[in-house]
């Protein structure tokens, strides 16, 4: 080893980056080279000098302030992130959305068409009986100006005014409404629970599960039935693994206090087709790992799960439990 190389190795050694064999060679060189020994001292001296400008741990108040600022900035972000993702999920849902207005207007036309057809034949019959001129038809009820086909949910009845070509069609229309509120608001929660049941619109369904899970994770009053129940159902039956994952996360705070939740998670561990979910489920079982039913399931999973990593993790878990 020559001195140039030795001097580089000295720097590496002082920073703990010199491999052992090179460290050994450096030792040998230093034993014989005064100049490099001095170099070594100089580098060590530099280390000590740099310590005069120490790394300071940020104060808790600085950290808190920085976090607050960041939170506000994230909330205020105008583009990208949120809107981009909403646009992307809207585009995904658009394909499904596109068929809906077509169906609704087809329904309306079918209803009107059926009514018209029945009315026509009725009219033929009465016209055959009556030869007298009919009085002028009364001015027809003006057709609703903005009959938006996408809002109509169904035609419930059709009545024909006798001796005229007037037809009365009763139908129902969806009235879109908007509710604003916080996640604590019971009205909002009720709407979200309904949103969970929306099988037609996966975005709504997923968002509802997400928000409810978020509430439960943060302990915002998910006590009592419906929300926890909705999450358990989502965990068991939802086809989308991401949704199941969110539901699982939302149930976490309740594992230790609610045996139904614990059992739901154990069931997920045994039956969920997605290995990621199964692994996550294992991770959540920490507070109740001493339960015999939990250990039984872990034993089963440790031997029978298809995924080797999961088998491994369960075995590790059982060993940990055994050591306690």
């Amino acid at each position: 080893m020559n001195c140039d190389l030795a001097q580089e190795n000295i720097v590496l050694a002082v920073y703990g980056e010199l491999p052992d064999d090179r460290a050994h060679q450096l030792e040998q060189h230093l034993a014989q080279c005064e100049r490099c020994r001095q170099e070594m001292e100089a580098v060590e001296g530099l280390q000590k000098a740099m310590a005069v400008v120490p790394v300071i741990e940020p104060s808790p108040s600085l950290v808190a302030r920085a976090r607050l600022r960041l939170d506000e900035a994230l909330d205020a972000m105008p583009h990208g992130g949120f809107i981009l993702r909403r646009w992307q999920s809207f585009r995904r849902g658009f394909g499904r959305l596109q068929s809906a207005p077509v169906m609704a207007s087809a329904l309306l036309l079918a209803g009107l068409g059926a009514g018209g057809w029945v009315g026509y034949h009725e009219g033929l019959r009465t016209a055959a009986k009556q030869i007298a001129a009919k009085p002028a038809a009364p001015a027809p009820v003006p057709v609703l100006a903005d009959l938006d086909a996408s809002q109509i949910v169904g035609v419930s009845s059709i009545t024909r005014e006798p001796d005229t070509e007037n037809v009365k069609v009763r139908f129902s229309r969806m009235v879109p409404e908007t509710a604003f509120g916080t996640l604590d608001d019971p009205q909002i929660r009720q709407l979200l629970l309904l949103g969970v049941r929306n099988a037609m619109n996966p975005t709504v369904h997923n968002d509802s599960v997400d928000l409810l899970a978020h509430e439960c994770q943060n302990g915002h009053g998910c006590n009592g039935g419906p929300i926890r129940g909705a999450l358990m159902v989502a965990l068991r039956y939802d086809k989308d693994a991401e949704v199941r994952s969110k539901a699982l996360a939302g149930l976490e705070p309740y594992i230790a206090i609610d045996t139904r939740v614990r059992d739901a998670i154990l069931e997920a561990l045994l039956k969920d087709p997605d290995p990621g979910i199964r692994e996550k489920a294992i991770g959540l079982l920490t507070p109740v790992e001493a339960d015999s039913s939990v250990r039984d399931v872990l034993h089963t999973v440790a031997t029978r799960d298809q995924n080797p990593q999961i088998r491994n993790v369960s075995r590790q878990y059982l060993e940990q439990v055994a050591l306690q």
């Binding site: 005069v52 400008v53 790394v55």
Partner: protein
């Protein structure tokens, strides 16, 4: 030379310099498999739009980022700005993260780039940051954080250390931004050269050579003081 003298130890630094980055996670007693899994899930959830998940990720790293930025820039305000910009960028571009490296490396890459920008701007403006400034613009007394039982009893020595501190900061300022960055990450933050290379989008070899240049320059500068 006794064998002991050649036991190379990395420079001593406070134990808080390399915190366990998983301290932000919940109270699980987790093995490495489960922790990495948990972070991967978090990232995926954040990528899917969960702000909660993103916030959790931020909490795991923001303190370390602040610490680095504070020491590099010497200013609490600048450190906050860098931290904020870094995580806003991370939020905006989270979709681009494809797990090709660790999230830690990815975040630090963003942070180091911002730090390099800051250093370049400062060099262009020739600002003198020989002392640390807190958010009120007051000079921070670095010595209050360095424990040395003897310094209190000897004001002359304290003054000397303060002077030395200023000279060292000045010497650090004379490094190129990249040299400063590599030195900061290696010496003060204790990262491995390989990681530093990844963060600066270069090789370990290049990082090594940059470190050599930095230490050479610093030694030359400090030799002038003696």
């Amino acid at each position: 030379m006794p064998a002991d003298a050649l036991r190379f130890l990395p420079p001593a630094r406070p134990s808080s310099a390399r915190p366990r980055l998983q301290s932000g996670m919940a109270t699980r007693t987790a093995g490495p498999v489960r922790e990495n899994l948990a972070e991967t899930d978090l990232i995926r959830e954040a990528q899917a739009g969960s702000r909660t998940a993103f916030d959790t990720l931020v909490r795991q790293y923001d303190q370390a980022v602040l610490r680095l930025a504070m020491h590099l820039t010497g200013s609490e305000q600048d450190a906050q700005d860098i931290q904020q910009e870094a995580f806003l960028k991370a939020y905006r571009y989270l979709g681009n993260f494809r797990f090709e490296c660790s999230f830690y490396t990815w975040i630090y890459r963003i942070v180091t780039n911002l730090c390099l920008d800051h250093l370049r701007r400062r060099k262009a403006r020739r600002e003198d940051q020989a002392v640390m400034i807190d958010s009120q613009g007051e000079e921070m007394d670095l010595l209050t954080n360095v424990s040395d039982d003897r310094s209190g009893a000897n004001p002359a020595r304290e003054l000397e250390r303060k002077y030395l501190g200023q000279r060292i900061r000045a010497a650090l300022e004379e490094l190129t931004p990249r040299e400063r960055m590599v030195f900061e990450l290696k010496h003060y933050q204790g990262l491995r050269l390989r990681t530093i290379g990844e963060m600066l989008n270069t090789t370990e070899e290049t990082a090594k050579n940059t470190l050599f240049r930095a230490t050479k320059k610093l030694r030359a500068k400090l030799a002038e003081l003696r």
